[in-house]
């Protein structure tokens, strides 16, 4: 009893002393870095903030119709500015009681019909006439215009239209929505404020001239005039804990450690590099987020090494990483393509040419390379195409035979060189091992995923790859007599090295790379996870 009590109290102490503040640090900083909390005031944008606030206030309070565009590069804080302004605006009761808001996004409301429905919904007008509103597009438009026309400056509630990705609205047919919104804002109808948010500097040129004439030509530009010292200061404030942090001592220590971190030379260089590359804060936040996630009870501060590691991840070249996940054969083909490119100065090539080049290469090093059969090479070629490392030339017709379809290499010289340098010692014995560890990994992970969900206790069979691993989920060819059970773990043989792995580790890594995938672009999700896993796995393996 007594011992248990001490154990639990000991745990509580540990909890209070170490874990609890860390959790709070994580919470506070994550909120900050993930843009879930608006800053007190938009830093560096005070003038714009004032301008926009005044403008919207006049709409809310005086019923003056306005239109304005907020223009700035991505990550400059356009939406943040608007949100701050709205927060400040709604603090006034007069505005709060009156202002109606309609938020549209050019990516969601891809045409005027959807946009009109969305407006009607957000204005809560649909109840007024039952389902009538959601009739045809034409009726909908007439309905909304009528509704806006009925209002007048002094009596109706002002409506704020926020058009995110404003430039996309300009691509709608005839720009009907924009014309009508601007027309209302320039005539004595219900007071509205149209706020467009865009990152295109040439957005006005997109507008038709009659639409343009109705727009008030107010533009608020968010161009950060940040210097590198300010940037460093900003990093420090972003990572510092606020004064009202419950554990004062901890906050003090944390802030001191952050200060020393920012004074560190290597960190300064990394941040300078980030600053050189882009001034926007979203990428900075990503970097800091990676640092933050390395903070643990054992290591309750951010060390310069964390920043370096995070920066390495951020600046990693995705395509070069993908190259490292290729089989030797594929890599050889790529090298052959690069030769062709050098010889023919960027002219497109086809499989036949690549194959010939590859054969020349083999002749030179005949002893170390196995001469693959043509179908194998074809598969490898197709795999490269699926990874979009090569692309068919525009306009080359699909009718041409696959061998003769013209292709272009989508890689830069530097990427290939980098990949080759980092590639593990190029195997001398092609014949003995047809699988490289990476591909095994993919097989494992992919098959594991399937097994885990469907047949958790099935044996996992691995063997020689025949064909490609086009999609990681389609590998079904096994080597004759080798069976591996999940319980036993995997034994991988590569040359003379052997790795013994437990399935739990595999699972862990798999989950890790799946997690990592989410950060990458959605488009190439499957491909990128392949690349991702290879990188991670390699690291763990060595």
């Amino acid at each position: 009893m007594a011992t248990r009590h001490t154990a639990s109290s000991c745990f509580t102490e540990i909890w209070i002393e170490f874990i609890c503040p860390l959790l709070q640090v994580q919470k506070i900083l994550r909120e900050r870095l993930c843009h879930q909390q608006l800053p007190e005031k938009p830093e560096g944008l005070e003038a714009q903030h004032k301008h926009l606030l005044e403008l919207l206030k006049r709409t809310a309070v005086h019923g003056e119709s306005n239109s304005v565009l907020i223009v700035g590069p991505r990550g400059a804080g356009k939406t943040m500015l608007l949100k701050c302004v709205l927060r400040d605006l709604l603090e006034e009761t007069e505005a709060q009681k009156n202002l109606l808001q309609v938020h549209l996004n050019g990516l969601l409301q891809t045409d005027d019909r959807i946009a009109l429905k969305e407006i009607t919904r957000q204005l809560h007008l649909e109840n007024v006439v039952g389902d009538k509103v959601f009739g045809s597009f034409a009726e909908n438009l007439a309905f909304l215009l009528e509704a806006l026309k009925k209002g007048d400056r002094s009596s109706s509630r002002p409506v704020l239209f926020v058009l995110d990705e404003f430039d996309l609205f300009a691509h709608h047919k005839n720009q009907t929505l924009l014309y009508n919104l601007f027309d209302v804002s320039q005539s004595a109808q219900a007071p509205i404020a149209v706020v467009g948010i865009t990152c295109r500097l040439d957005v006005l040129e997109l507008l038709e001239k009659r639409v343009k004439s109705r727009f008030s030509h107010r533009q608020i530009h968010l161009l950060s005039s940040l210097t590198s010292t300010q940037y460093l200061e900003r990093v420090q404030t972003q990572l510092s804990l606020p004064d009202h942090f419950p554990d004062g001592q901890f906050a003090q220590d944390w802030n001191d450690s952050i200060k020393t971190l920012c004074r560190d030379k290597s960190v300064g260089e990394i941040l300078q590099r980030h600053f050189n590359s882009s001034k926007d804060f979203r990428s900075l936040h990503m970097l800091l987020m990676l640092c933050l996630s390395r903070v643990s009870v054992a290591k309750p501060t951010i060390k310069p090494i964390d920043v370096q590691e995070a920066s390495r991840v951020c600046f990693a070249d995705a395509t070069a990483n993908m190259l490292r996940g290729l089989s030797i054969l594929e890599l050889c083909l790529i090298i052959a393509m690069k030769h062709l490119n050098d010889v023919y100065e960027g002219e497109p090539f086809n499989l036949q040419m690549v194959h010939n080049e590859f054969k020349k290469f083999l002749q030179r090093k005949s002893n170390s390379m196995y001469n693959f059969e043509r179908p194998v090479i074809m598969k490898a070629f197709e795999h490269l195409q699926e990874l979009e490392l090569i692309r068919p030339v525009d306009g080359s017709s699909a009718k041409t035979q696959r061998e003769y379809r013209l292709m272009r290499l989508m890689l830069d010289h530097s990427q290939i060189v980098e990949a080759l340098q980092k590639y593990p010692q190029c195997p001398t014995e092609w014949s003995t091992a047809h699988l490289d560890p990476m591909q095994t990994w993919i097989c494992c992970a992919a098959t594991l995923q399937e097994k885990m969900f469907y047949y958790p206790r099935e044996f996992l069979k691995l063997g020689q790859m025949k064909g490609s691993c086009a999609t990681a989920y389609q590998i079904h060819v096994f080597h004759g007599n080798q069976h591996y059970s999940l319980k036993q773990g995997l034994t991988l043989t590569w040359g003379k090295k052997t790795w013994q792995l437990e399935w739990r580790m595999i699972f862990f890594f798999f989950m890790f790379f799946m997690d990592r995938c989410c950060d990458l672009s959605q488009q190439k999700l499957s491909l990128c996870c392949v690349a991702g896993v290879t990188v991670r796995c390699r690291k763990v393996l060595h």
Partner: protein, 895 residues
């Protein structure tokens, strides 16, 4: 109320004899006398011109008194009208003003009413009976008992001061009206004499005036007296004592009075209002002012056409000398328009150096036409009995419009720090010039004179009006004005009927919920100015579009009157007032229709931008016309039927098609139908189409459509800087928020760029905001305007490059370097990237990876500093600059 009971006694009005003559221009018949017979009574009362009459008013016991100047009717004989001059009763003058009289007024005393604000034409139906009015010398006592029906005139009243009244007014009163009927011209002209003369110095006058006596059909000895008599002024200015409530009360009264007579809308009225007479710092004043200029104008219009003819007869050399410039233009001559006259000649004095003494001598009066001083008439030849009964004082003046007008000018003067009413001529010129910097130069040219009326932003309301009259006839445009106004002889303000477009009944639609708290009113001058400068604030008038207004008006009006159809195509770049002008025309026409001046009509409006599909045009037209809902095809059939079949009592439909180019379809059947319907016999359809491009018919219409559209085209030119300036000034309406130079800068800049009025207003509005924030002086100055202009017109590219990240700048340099190397304006990312790596090394930066370089490139592409192919091309995507290379180099060099 009792009064209406009496009215129910049915009176029959008819012309007692054949018309004197037919006025072809106005399409009216002039009559000498009118017979009124009351049902059930044998007697017939005959009213002749020159006679005094009672006109039904709000009060049964004291009907209005007036003198008939002219009787006329239209061709059909339906409308019988009388042109009259008002007299005012003591009960109608406010009590505090009565004090100015300096004595107790007589019960039967009336005053000759010299105000420009009263309607001068009434329906004969409002005439009750004739009454006897006698003129008394100002010093003479009131006669003891002359019966209840005799009224006495001693003085005139112009809402500010009592003045000696001219005996010519009196003369005609005392004499039988028949005498005048023989000389209608003379009798009509006479009342206008006295106000004209007083301004001339006694020294110059007799010589020129002497022969005039002989020329007169009715030799008038009083003129001699007048000439010799000195100036006794009764001009006491008391306007500041006037409380707002009284003003508004009196406004109501005058409005009522104007209502009593039938009205027709002023064709030009709205346009005239462009002149920024109004000033609004005080609400009450504002309200008054709303009515005031219209009333003035309305009166001028109502009186001018009928009197144009008589004026062309010159009576005296003196008249001639003074009137030549004016009379040939058909300036109205009436007691109430004295001011007009004076300032007309005044203006002429400005322009023509060959003026005689007389006209030069008039100049003093020009400074304050509103406080015109009329010299006492001296001893008049006629002797009239006097009576001295005192009347109970009442508080309602006939009209206090003049008062408000004066208030306006007074306020302006205050603003200009020219408080003194009795200033020298020069100071007054400055006064005007402060508002209208370009006035002088405008006046120098004959065409400029026309414009000066339009552009000038002057203090003197009346003077301005007259200049317009004077200059108006010089150009063909003004002919149109008169012609169109012929149809509507009576002009009255259309303020009360602001929204006149016919609304077809529609389904109940929801509207934006109303505010829980009322919108705040503008609190200071800048906010006020901002509210006025907002494009949405509907101006009372559209300056600078008079010609177009007239053209459209006459086009539509003629079509409506003839019951035919037609098309008109109107083009012009955005922001030149096309739609606004048409709406203005429609408002005026609707007003005209409301008072039966023209046949009633439908006005419907569709906008190509406000529909989702060209065929929706049918649906919208049908719905606005009949309220029915139908599908596009069905609607087309219904409309086809409607426009091709004859129907009894069909109203003309005026259809405005805005943004015509959007109704284009491949087969063009929508356009075809729109232009084909008007050609049908029974359609009664007028189609006005608006689009931006001048050659739209040639460009997008196939032949059969273009042919049906016809050649009635009009093009709205972009505003010149002067026009823009005038538009702002008229909008600002005397709210002094801008420095003159600042306004000029804005209008010049906008005129040079687009001539878009909206842009101009937006810039001004932004400038007021900047001014407010900078919180320096109250006026918006050059610096503020410059800042606003920069904000709106300067492109952000250079700033964007300047503040871009280092790698982004390097990339742009790499792009230019690669372009130079290739000699092309396009390169692939790969090529540029090689350059970029090299540049990185030169700059001592760590070379970036390909994906980082790609990210930089994409960021530049998102801002559209670069134009990129779609990103699926990877390193092979082609890159182009969206900015000129010079701009990039300039921006990069700057830091």
């Amino acid at each position: 109320m009792k009064y209406f009971g009496r009215l129910r006694v049915r009176r029959v009005y008819r012309w007692s004899e054949e018309p004197l003559r037919f006025n072809r221009k106005l399409k009216t018949f002039d009559y000498r006398s009118l017979a009124i017979s009351v049902d059930g009574l044998p007697g017939v009362t005959v009213i002749t011109t020159g006679q005094h009459i009672l006109i039904e008013g709000k009060d049964e016991d004291s009907p209005y008194v007036a003198r008939v100047m002219r009787l006329f009717g239209d061709e059909s004989g339906k409308q019988k009208k009388a042109s009259i001059r008002w007299f005012i009763r003591t009960s109608e003058i406010p009590t505090d003003k009565l004090k100015l009289l300096g004595r107790e007024p007589h019960t039967q005393e009336i005053f000759y009413y010299q105000s420009l604000n009263c309607e001068e034409e009434v329906d004969v139906e409002s005439i009750l009976r004739p009454v006897q009015v006698k003129h008394l010398d100002s010093a003479a006592p009131f006669p003891d008992s002359d019966g209840k029906d005799t009224l006495y005139v001693k003085l005139s009243w112009d809402c500010k001061a009592f003045m000696e009244v001219d005996s010519t007014v009196v003369e005609s009163m005392s004499e039988p009206a028949l005498t005048y009927s023989l000389h209608p011209h003379a009798s009509r002209r006479k009342p206008s004499l006295p106000p004209l003369l007083p301004c001339s110095p006694p020294a110059a006058a007799p010589a020129s005036r002497a022969p005039s006596c002989h020329a007169l059909p009715m030799p008038d000895p009083s003129i001699m007296h007048r000439a010799a008599s000195g100036e006794a002024r009764y001009t006491t200015e008391v306007e500041s004592m006037h409380s707002a409530t009284k003003l508004s009360a009196s406004k109501c009264l005058s409005a009522k009075r104007r209502n009593a007579s039938s009205r027709t809308p002023g064709v030009r009225k709205k346009l005239e209002l462009s002149s920024p007479e109004k000033i609004s710092c005080v609400d009450a004043v504002d309200r008054l002012l709303d009515e005031e200029p219209e009333a003035l104008l309305a009166q001028r219009l109502s009186s001018s056409p009928p009197q144009a003819l008589p004026l062309s007869h010159r009576l005296t050399p003196l008249r001639k000398s003074r009137r030549t410039p004016t009379s040939q233009y058909g300036v109205p001559v009436s007691p109430s328009l004295v001011l007009n006259r004076v300032s007309v000649s005044d203006i002429n004095g400005h322009t023509s150096p060959s003026k005689d003494d007389a006209s030069r001598a008039m100049t003093p009066s020009r400074r304050h036409p509103k406080t015109l001083r009329i010299p006492t008439l001296g001893v008049l030849a006629e002797v009239i009995d006097e009576k001295s009964q005192m009347m109970p004082a009442a508080t309602t003046p006939r009209s206090s419009k003049r008062k408000s007008a004066q208030l306006v000018s007074d306020r302006i003067r205050k603003q200009l720090n020219l408080l003194d009413n009795h200033q020298e001529l020069n100071s007054d010129c400055e006064d005007e010039e402060e508002f209208v910097p370009s006035k002088k130069e405008l006046q120098s040219s004959s065409e400029g004179e026309e414009e000066s009326g339009l552009e000038s932003d002057e203090v003197e309301v009346v003077a301005k009006r007259n200049r317009r009259i004077a200059s108006g006839s010089l150009t063909p445009r003004s002919k149109q004005h008169t012609r169109s106004s012929n149809r509507t002889p009576q002009k009255t303000p259309s303020k009360k009927i602001t929204i006149s477009t016919p609304r077809t009944p529609r389904h109940a639609t929801p509207s934006i919920p109303s505010r829980s708290l009322p919108a705040r009113q503008p609190a200071n001058v800048l906010e006020e100015a901002r509210a006025r400068l907002h494009v949405s604030s509907v101006p009372e008038s559209l300056p600078c579009r008079e010609q177009e207004f007239q053209d459209v008006y006459s086009f539509v009006e003629s079509k409506i009157i003839d019951g035919t159809g037609g098309c008109m195509y109107i083009s012009g770049v955005p922001g030149t007032g096309k739609t606004a002008t048409i709406h203005e025309v429609m408002r005026c026409l609707q007003h005209a229709a409301d008072v039966d001046e023209i046949p009633p009509f439908h006005f419907i409006e569709i906008n190509g931008m406000k529909m989702t599909d060209p065929h929706q045009a049918y649906v919208q037209i049908l719905q606005k016309l009949t309220g029915e809902k139908a599908t596009a095809d069905h609607a087309a059939v219904l409309l086809e039927k409607r426009f091709s079949n004859p129907a009894p009592k069909k109203k003309t439909t005026v259809l405005l098609v805005d943004e015509l180019d959007l109704l284009w379809t491949r087969k063009q059947n929508v356009m075809y139908n729109l232009f084909d319907w008007p050609t049908r016999r029974h359609a009664h359809l007028v189609v006005l189409t608006i689009a931006n491009t001048m050659d739209l018919p040639e460009r997008i219409m196939i032949n059969r459509v273009a042919s049906r559209l016809g050649l009635t085209r009009m093009s709205f030119q972009p505003y010149s800087f002067k026009q823009l300036q005038q538009i702002i000034t008229s909008r600002l309406n005397k709210v002094k928020a801008f420095e003159e130079d600042a306004l000029q800068l804005v209008s010049r800049k906008v005129a040079a760029l687009s001539g878009d009025a909206r842009r101009c207003l937006d810039i001004c509005r932004r400038a007021t905001e900047i001014c407010e924030h900078s919180s320096t002086t109250g006026l918006v100055g050059m610096c503020h305007v410059m800042e606003a202009l920069n904000e709106m017109f300067s492109s952000a590219y250079i700033t964007a490059i300047k503040w871009a990240a280092v790698q982004e700048q390097l990339f742009l340099r790499a792009v230019i370097a690669e372009f130079r190397r290739l000699g092309l304006e396009e390169a692939t990312f790969q090529q540029v990237f090689v350059q970029h790596q090299a540049l990185c090394r030169v700059e001592g930066l760590q070379p970036i990876s390909v994906s980082e370089g790609m990210a930089v490139c994409q960021r530049l592409g998102a801002c559209r500093l670069l134009l990129l192919e779609s990103s699926r091309h990877g390193v092979l995507q082609r890159v182009r600059l969206n900015v000129s290379q010079d701009d990039v180099l300039y921006a990069l060099k700057a830091d």
